[in-house]
């Protein structure tokens, strides 16, 4: 080791740079929040429009304007829940296979492939849905229209799967080897060890994986804008899945472009943004808490 001076200097520099990027992230999130608040709160200065928020009709350009958020909230809920129903079992199963069952070579092939799925731009998923899957589903299942909630769910599921797989896989890896070895040593089969020892131990990690996938799905915009039909109706029961819906994200994307600056419509769109921000925040915080619990349990 020669003089230690330049090394310290370099380290300090890098440390500072890393620290500032970390702080910048926090500042950005706070700024986004403040910005959303600033542009959505003026809506509440208009009593009529505020009252319409709880209504069931989203008609932003009619006279008087109607900003009923219920259909949009339910639309997002339907699409996202549908996506979870498809992606959580698939994602967790895939993670189990990769972490526990697959031979080394297959694992090394599968992992990057799943990650590649995350690299597909959402507009490509959307085009796939609107040009191929939508018309095909409409024809084979005799649906009235080829743009419906479940189609959005299906495509979102594939977008959420990479997140779910990688977080679940980490959770499965965090299960101590000794537990697995002990289970096998007691005479349990491989399958019994997985279902009765490994999965229960990794439980909170798997829940976190699902929640992070949910966070990914609820904020997705382009695909749902293209395939879900954007009809602001209140979905009715299970039938709602095969009929068009309108999500919160698609509403912002479709309407922001031509909205007059500082109009009530503009504020209403920002208010939807604020709601989305809060929903994702809550989902992510819950996921974080669960992951922390997982860390403690592993110890």
């Amino acid at each position: 080791m020669r003089s230690t001076k330049p090394r310290r200097w370099g380290e300090r520099l890098i440390e500072g740079a890393i620290k500032s990027t970390g702080i910048a992230t926090i500042v950005f999130v706070l700024l986004i929040f403040v910005f959303l608040l600033k542009d959505s709160l003026p809506l509440f200065g208009h009593a009529k429009q505020t009252a319409s928020l709880l209504g069931t009709r989203w008609l932003p350009t009619s006279e008087p304007e109607q900003f009923g958020l219920i259909p949009l909230l339910l639309g997002s809920l339907y699409v996202t829940l549908g996506a979870m129903v498809i992606s959580v079992p698939l994602g967790v199963a895939c993670a189990i296979f990769i972490a526990e069952l697959a031979p080394q070579w297959l694992r090394e092939l599968l992992k990057p492939l799943v990650e590649l799925l995350a690299a597909v731009p959402s507009v490509v998923f959307g085009a796939l849905g609107v040009l191929l899957l939508g018309p095909w589903f409409a024809k084979t299942l005799h649906l009235p229209v080829g743009q419906f909630a479940a189609l959005g769910s299906l495509l979102l599921a594939f977008m959420a799967i990479p997140t779910i797989v990688s977080v679940s896989e980490d959770a499965l890896h965090a299960v101590p080897r000794a537990l697995r070895a002990g289970s096998l040593a007691l005479g349990a089969t491989h399958w019994q060890s997985i279902t009765r020892v490994v999965l229960p131990t990794a439980r909170s990690g798997l829940i976190a994986a699902g929640l992070l996938g949910l966070g990914r799905a609820i904020g997705e915009t382009m695909t749902v804008l293209m395939v879900t039909g954007n009809a602001a109706v209140i979905p009715q029961g299970l039938k709602g899945f095969i009929l068009p819906v309108r999500t919160m994200t698609a509403t912002i994307a479709a309407e922001m472009g031509e909205t007059a600056h500082n109009s009530t419509h503009y504020f209403a769109l920002f208010f939807i943004g604020l709601l989305l921000f809060l929903i994702t925040l809550v989902v992510n915080v819950v996921a974080e808490v669960v992951v922390h619990r997982m860390g403690r349990e592993a110890k």
Binding site: L59, T61, V130, A138, P144, L225, A232, E258, A260
Partner: protein
């Protein structure tokens, strides 16, 4: 050890460069705004365009969202020919445009309707004399699936369908098609506004009528065309210039009329086709200088070629 140190230093340097580039950005951008860019940056509507930059003349063109896509294309093409003229285009609606002309916050007001007498009075009081320029025609075709037996529909029937009063194809004379799948455009579309005014509100006669909530809103003309071509029970509307053979165009019976009119450039130009209207630009007095060059270019062959490109109907030669 040495290698690791070099690596960390390299990473640090990369970060530092990134930081410098980032922090250098505002200055860079400020310098950029004076140069013409191809990007379609719309100035904020209330500001009425960016401040004049240097000796360049800025023409501010505000108004109808129906004319907006056309004006954007005009601006783009004209800017290539005359880089010395800055054109700033923004929407806000026909009323906003004419108000802007009266308050002198724009040079051109785009409008999808004729100026009202009241507005002319206001303009005169403000010392502005609006001059009307017919720049294009807007015609909207009503389209259905090819398997739909219907050949004609009245404006009143269309209004009932789009307001949700009529929900079954049987009610308009097409048997066995079940529910009507009502395809609409997003509210940000100029065609949406046109259709609302001309069909849903029966050319402004029923101002309190509006689209029902729950129509299938599409973000582009293309998605309306493909959805209608794939959906048996669908009805939709697109700019006349965009119609293709994947869909069937319905003849339209005018309000209170009996004879269905075929949708075509001829019937729009003759004023017979009921879902059509004239698009105007208004200027303060007869245009002079660059403004005149621009207005003449719009009405000339190049400007009119863009009119058909955007899906509207050009002026008769």
């Amino acid at each position: 050890m040495k290698q690791g140190r070099i690596l960390t230093l390299a990473i640090g340097l990369a970060m530092l460069t990134a930081l410098m580039v980032l922090s250098g950005c505002p200055g860079q951008k400020a310098a950029d705004t004076t140069a013409p860019t191809d990007m379609a940056v719309k100035p904020p509507a209330e500001a009425g365009g960016p401040p004049a930059t240097g000796a360049k003349e800025t023409i501010r063109q505000i108004g109808s969202t129906t004319v907006l896509p056309l004006a954007e294309k005009w601006r783009e093409a004209f800017n290539k020919l005359h880089p010395e003229v800055d054109i700033a285009v923004s929407g806000g609606g026909s009323g906003t445009g004419i108000k802007g002309l009266i308050s002198k916050s724009c040079e051109i007001a785009n409008s999808s309707r004729e100026i009202k007498d009241k507005e002319i009075e206001e303009a005169k009081a403000a010392g502005v004399s609006p001059v009307e320029h017919l720049v294009a025609y807007d015609g909207i075709a009503v389209i259905v699936n090819k398997e739909n037996p219907l050949t004609k529909i009245s404006v009143e029937q269309l209004s009932d369908i789009y307001t949700g009063k009529t929900t079954k194809w049987d009610a308009v004379g097409a048997k066995g098609l079940g529910d009507i799948q009502v395809i609409n455009r997003e509210s940000s579309s100029g065609t949406y506004d046109s259709f609302k005014e001309m069909v849903v509100q029966l050319h402004g006669k029923e101002k309190d009528r509006d689209f029902m909530a729950g129509t299938l809103n599409q973000t582009s003309t293309e998605s309306v065309l493909s959805l209608v071509s794939e959906t048996k029970g669908a009805i939709g509307y697109v700019g006349l210039g965009y119609v293709d053979d994947r869909v069937k165009v319905l003849d339209v019976i005018p309000i209170g009329g009996k004879e269905p009119v075929k949708a075509s450039a001829e019937t729009v130009l003759s004023g017979k086709y009921p879902i059509s209207r004239k698009l105007y630009c208004y200027t303060n007095g007869e245009p002079t200088g660059n403004l005149k060059t621009y207005m003449d270019w719009i009405k000339g062959p190049e400007g009119q070629a863009i009119v058909s490109e955007v899906g509207y109907i050009p002026l008769a030669k």
